[in-house]
């Protein structure tokens, strides 16, 4: 077998299972279990990862997305080689480093300086190597003199910055980042993303786990979507993220909202002349709703990429009658590029009104928009949501 270069991650048919029995580790239970074991009974388990295949070359960035409990962190742990796959094989060539947090890697009783050297050593670096990068780490983390203070006296932000800086400047061959940037402030987040692009440019392989889809798109070349222990999709980050967004939207629509006095009976989204929705064109929303009591309030509509966070919101305040009514809304200019979107809506009474019927924020319909494809931002730059803007350029 040819030797793989440092930074390669190779996962072949990896499976992972955890115990699933309601195990009571009491003595009598163990005896009962042993008795059953003699008769051929084996403990039940559940698979948390099934048949994962990955081949990531050095210097590539790989995103892992999926809802909570889908197995992302377990996969990271296997790549980190701290937990064994139950079947198949996982290989990571070279030094593997994970992002540190206080109490998991960073020791609160030690000073920043001691933590930096400690972790450098754990990563397998010599003191001289760490010392060479020491100033960069302190500068990046913006902790200055506090580097000789115990970490427990740091502010939350300082500790997070230190953890990121240690991992990102010790430049392991494989860097694992598990949902942590969201905690820092906006400026630090951008700084981290830039540092990540730099580290990757220097040849580090990056694994990035996040629920923050825009950062996944900004950081990763490729991504894998895990759902309930299965690999659902694998490919260029943008395609995988958009597939994932769609599924989030669809599942949200399927989950029927509870009855709160207002029911949406029908919801249609159409483009010009009842045709397809097109970027820059008009969009008609047709809603048929039914209310148990008359109410005065505002109807909000928003369009999102699947998640509950809309790109924009429109609002219509009026008094709504009891019984069935129809609401039509015409957006004169649909400002989003090609893609799949979800229409969300809610109806709220004004704050001072006696609370009557209302409609919680919920997805109402999915639709496809046609038009130009969104332009990709440079790596490390996070685009919050795509907006379609017709442009004219001139170079002279």
């Amino acid at each position: 077998m040819p030797t793989l270069p440092s930074g390669t991650v190779l996962v072949e048919h990896a499976w992972k299972r955890f115990r699933a029995d309601r195990t009571l580790p009491m003595f009598q239970d163990q005896i009962v279990l042993f008795g059953r074991w003699m008769k051929g009974y084996r403990r039940p388990f559940r698979w948390v990862l099934r048949d994962v295949n990955l081949h990531v070359e050095p210097g590539k960035t790989y995103g892992l997305i999926g809802v909570n409990g889908s197995g992302k962190s377990t996969l990271l742990k296997m790549i980190c080689q701290t937990t064994f796959p139950s079947a198949g094989s996982v290989k990571a060539i070279g030094r593997v480093g994970a992002l540190l947090e206080v109490r998991s890697g960073i020791h609160p009783d030690l000073s920043g300086r001691q933590n930096i050297f400690l972790y450098g050593n754990i990563l397998g670096m010599s003191r001289a190597d760490v010392a060479a990068r020491f100033d960069d780490i302190v500068d990046f983390a913006e902790i200055g003199d506090a580097v000789d203070r115990q970490v427990k006296f740091y502010s939350t932000g300082m500790a997070i910055r230190l953890g990121f800086a240690i991992a990102a400047f010790l430049e392991p061959d494989v860097l694992l980042v598990d949902e942590v940037l969201a905690v820092g402030d906006a400026r630090f987040q951008q700084k981290c993303l830039e540092r990540i692009s730099q580290v990757v440019a220097n040849g580090t392989t990056l694994f990035y786990v996040s629920h923050d889809l825009p950062t996944v798109e900004a950081v990763c070349d490729r991504a894998m979507w895990l759902a309930d222990s299965y690999v659902r999709a694998d490919g260029p980050a943008r395609d995988v993220v958009s597939l994932y967004r769609q599924s989030v939207g669809e599942q949200a629509v399927m989950a029927a909202a509870q009855d709160t006095g207002v029911r949406v009976l029908k919801c249609e989204v159409t483009g010009p002349d009842d045709g397809q929705v097109v970027s820059g064109g008009e969009v008609n929303v047709h809603i048929v709703a039914e209310s148990d009591e008359p109410m005065f309030g505002a109807f909000h509509l928003g369009i999102s990429q699947g998640t509950a966070m809309p790109v924009f919101v429109v609002r219509y305040a009026s008094s709504f009658p009891r019984g069935r009514y129809e609401l039509r809304c015409r957006l004169q200019n649909f400002p989003l590029p090609k893609g799949r979107y979800t229409l969300w809506g809610a109806m709220r009474a004004p704050r001072d009104a006696e609370v009557g019927a209302s409609l919680p924020w919920q997805p109402m319909a999915n639709f496809e928009a046609y038009g130009p494809v969104a332009i990709r931002a440079p790596r490390g730059v996070m685009v919050l949501s795509p907006v379609y803007v017709p442009t004219e350029w001139e170079l002279s």
Binding site: S86, I122, D234
Partner: protein, 307 residues
């Protein structure tokens, strides 16, 4: 599992999850076959991590304490005071013959302290480093071993009060003290083996977390106070265990008995190594190490998942 759509190499692949079998093929299931030699080699390569961890724990332990490292001097003295008071109130405890009792007791505390400290700290070394264990990959042995190292460090510091104590009682150590490294060499594998065993078993069986702190002081009382000078040892052991092979067997099972007796006899009474106690102790000690390490490597597969 074949992807549903494969536009090109590296393109988007969407998988049909109904095609994934319920279980992986039997042949690919992971069987944990620890390779002890390879592990030992890897351990040698990452030797320094052990020192880093020990340094971390020592620094963290004495940080923010007003007396700082002074506690490492005080703790054994307080222990000694308690033992001396206790022994003066209990019948049948105390010994040492012509050697002043505190000196005799402290010598025992020294040899015991290394072992007891290592077990005390090492027991929870895996459980308490859960998060570091999930985040970085280096030989797991470093966790318990760093505690053994830390205990060795404390024992070195505890030598200072011993010297003072010898001065106070005008008691010079005998020239046979030079044999001490040999006894420590016998004590070390036993300590390591037991630490490996306890720290790994505790991951699945937390009961030990309760048991160890109860039993260690008891064992200490028996070993240190009830420990014997060599002449007494010969007499008393003969009372309990009448035949010679059984006495040797006792030292195999409890290597500390052989080590402690030799340790004190050499420093304080001028005896050379009592081979009939030391050799069985060494054999037992190595057996403990091999068994403890085997258990550790066997259970290692669970560490990251169960801590």
């Amino acid at each position: 599992m074949e992807p549903l759509s494969d536009e090109q190499e590296g393109g988007l692949k969407v998988f049909d999850i109904t095609l994934v079998p319920d279980d992986p093929p039997e042949a690919s299931l992971y069987r944990h076959r620890p390779d002890m030699l390879a592990s030992a080699r890897e351990l040698l390569r990452r030797w320094d991590v052990m020192f880093s961890l020990a340094e971390r724990d020592i620094r963290a332990q004495y940080k923010q304490a007003v007396l700082g490292i002074g506690w490492a001097l005080l703790t054994p003295l307080v222990g000694l005071a308690m033992l001396v008071i206790l022994a003066s109130h209990l019948k049948g405890f105390g010994g040492g013959g012509k050697v002043p009792f505190p000196v005799w007791t402290y010598a025992g505390l020294l040899a015991w302290g290394f072992f007891g400290g290592a077990i005390g700290g090492g027991t929870s070394s895996l459980v308490s480093n859960k998060s570091l264990m999930a985040k970085s990959h280096f030989p797991r042995e470093c966790f318990p071993m760093s505690q053994v190292l830390e205990s060795a460090f404390s024992s070195l510091i505890a030598l200072v009060p011993f010297v003072i104590l010898l001065g106070l009682y005008h008691y010079a150590p005998r020239p046979t003290t030079v044999w001490i490294p040999l006894y420590l060499l016998v004590e070390l594998p036993f300590t390591l083996g037991l630490v490996f065993f306890v720290s790994s078993v505790i991951v699945t069986m937390r009961d030990l977390q309760q048991i160890v702190p109860i039993f260690m002081p008891l064992l200490m009382l028996i070993s240190v106070l009830k420990g014997l000078s060599i002449e007494e040892h010969h007499r008393l052991v003969a009372q309990f265990i009448t035949t010679a092979p059984l006495r040797e067997l006792y030292c195999v099972v409890n290597p500390m008995a052989g080590v402690l007796a030799n340790f004190r006899a050499s420093i304080l009474e001028g005896f050379g190594p009592q081979w009939e106690l030391l050799i069985p102790a060494a054999i037992g000690s190595i057996l403990y190490l091999v068994a403890g390490y085997a258990v550790f490597k066997r259970l290692e597969v669970n560490f990251a998942d169960l801590t």
